[in-house]
Symmetry: C2
Subunit: 473 residues, 2 copies
Amino acid sequence: MSKLPDINKNFAEWYQEVIHQAELVDHSPVRGTMVVRPYGTAIWENIKKRVDHRIKETGHHNAMFPLFIPESFLKKEADHVKGFAPELAIVTHAGGKKLEDPLVVRPTSETIIHYMFARWIKSWRDLPLKINQWANVVRWEMRPRAFLRTTEFFWQEGHTAHETYEEAKKEANLMLQEYIDFAHDYLAVPVISGTKSEAERFPGADETLTFEAIMPDGKALQMGTSHLISQNFAHAFDMSFQNKEEKLEYPHLTSWGVTTRLVGALIMVHGDQKGLVLPPKIAPIQVVIIPILKKGADNEKVLQAAEKIAQDLKVRSVRVFVDKDDHKTPGAKFYHWELRGVPIRIEIGPRDLENKQVMLAIRIEKGKEEVLFNSLVDHTVSALDNIQKELFKRAQEKVKTLWHKEEKLASFGKKMEKNGGLYQTGWCLAPACEQELKKYKASTRCLLDEKTFDVCFHCDQPSKTDVLVAKSY
Amino acid sequence: MSKLPDINKNFAEWYQEVIHQAELVDHSPVRGTMVVRPYGTAIWENIKKRVDHRIKETGHHNAMFPLFIPESFLKKEADHVKGFAPELAIVTHAGGKKLEDPLVVRPTSETIIHYMFARWIKSWRDLPLKINQWANVVRWEMRPRAFLRTTEFFWQEGHTAHETYEEAKKEANLMLQEYIDFAHDYLAVPVISGTKSEAERFPGADETLTFEAIMPDGKALQMGTSHLISQNFAHAFDMSFQNKEEKLEYPHLTSWGVTTRLVGALIMVHGDQKGLVLPPKIAPIQVVIIPILKKGADNEKVLQAAEKIAQDLKVRSVRVFVDKDDHKTPGAKFYHWELRGVPIRIEIGPRDLENKQVMLAIRIEKGKEEVLFNSLVDHTVSALDNIQKELFKRAQEKVKTLWHKEEKLASFGKKMEKNGGLYQTGWCLAPACEQELKKYKASTRCLLDEKTFDVCFHCDQPSKTDVLVAKSY
């Protein structure tokens, strides 16, 4: 295990190293894909569990649709196929034969789900129809990066149909808000939300809502999106229903999703020079207990005390692990679990046992403290709570240092290109001005519901809205 | 909604109809695949949750491996590629280009997981390595049947590596037993277990353990398998480790899995002429409450009472749904929920409210009973428990009527071909005798750990073991 690259100087290398050394992922023999190891999978499962809960609580039902989609389906909506065609993986042979109609490995499931919706929706009584799917999807990637951008990734995709535009809009907003709450409450990642520009929209959507986080290297990361899908999709799939007045209408659709990218986000936002830092609510192991065994001491008693503490913590729903490996020194274990970002470490040795205490170390603080047995469980539970809050606070402060308000691209463009950062500025909404950002390797991230500037960041036309611009992942 | 086909006369048609009418699945536009609707997905999620719990409790960790496998990987183990080649779906084009090395959509993941195992296993300290994956897999199907045999299906595949043959064998047996316990305790499906014959083994396994259930039409259904994988796989992927004596050795491997087929099994075993019958432990909805609304009555009070009962049941962890749909008659609702196999129905109307009681109907019993409010929750909880046990008992009795012991294929072959049924008989283990079963469209299902017969079912050689033979799904 070699030292991690300098997080301040070589952030990208630090990221690649930390996810491998902490055994979240390994290199896959299939270009662009990832092998997610048990520790990485456990983080994703915790995310899934919480997001799934929110999806169900808001009245959606999970379903499972086929991995393969007929190529002809994608062609039914012009913008959609144009957007996805370059990224598709195509099955041309199966069962020992050449297929007459090639099958696409789903890059997203709008087309096949809308095909089914058209069969299920006949009357206004069938609406709203609110479906979610947890699935793997494939988009061929030229520059893959584990969790952030991979050929195969894992996600949930919600798909809903509604009687009115207003209802669909409300749904798209609601799910965006659920995502934001989840990012804040569980991932402790502060996010910014707003509308995507026309150029940055989902292929085939009327409106794309996005929530974005700013990474420590000053680049923005799109965390997830919620789309108001164009009625074109309903037309393309002949999805109509009889409304209350017994007239035929086309439903209004939404789709929304978050992916394994969330794992990448929380690693980047919280990690430090020692490795991962996991927010307690998402950490697969919240507390690691390390028995300090010594020659000649009553090690059996120490082990028993460690197990007892673990049991007491489990009763309070704390995810705890006792590291009893007798081939490693305590120091090696400290290093191992710090690298993996476990929020709290408890050490207990023969002398601690005599004093009815433990040594407790918090991953994001220096030093350690003595805690008496009789207050240990309460102390640990409230420490986990505090760590969760502290991580969010620190991340919010970091965002402040990376968020700038500037009027003219000409004055901030080069700084942004060199140092990153999120720039709030004014925009006339003209695509030509948006294009100018490319010169600095940046793009619009989201339109804000604010108007601070009088003129556009590029031209001299009046600004119509504030916009956030940044380089992005 | 048309009447279900006669379950006794047209079992196959009954099955196809019931899974569609109860909205478990729908026809997919992609041949051989299925669209699993919310109700079917909820059953699978309940199965997943319990099986995942057992897998984790026995010390396995979930991980996620790529969907695509290089074609060359499958060719590394001769039997394996021979077994799967005819069923593969192959990606030849991706990202707008023809791939130099075509990719196979995983039919199972031994090859790619073993490739990674070879990187992770260096010393005996890395063993045992116990991994599980929940995934979709693809095997091209000529005669697809929802849940039972589909081109894409969902499963878990466990993969483990051990220092010794004995340990691996113990693991394969342990996971088989976990499956059997799950089938009995949760699905209420009685199963028979044993070893597969050489011809029926997993391609590349030294030994395949199987558990099978007998369906009401007399055909056997393989519910899941647990394999002792040949060390050939370890050799093929150069997976070696330094043992405690510092010598290089090849680990001993297992793999084991259950699939969405379990949903098919429980539908077939428990269903009746009215539709599905779901064991309470797996039922997405265990109790449906139907408020009986009447013109001129105080319907608001009835609805409130229904909600109150639902809340009280939820506190006791009962999964309950109040059907408030005001477009349907109570009769239509009874039919709707019977078809969907909900174990208990509670009806409450204005007069019931006056009498502080409800009418309670049990899906697998005739008639209904009055139950007073003050005993309702306890009564319901214990009724659910009784239904679970009763379903298992009824299924066991059914198995008895379908299980026969006979000495000679010549005498039972035609009966078996015509009526189905499970035949326990003696076998000399010669493949030639096993081949004879094909004449009656049957096969060996599993070798039993018993020896009841002196001679082989076909030839005059001594029997070496009892074997179960049957027609199968």
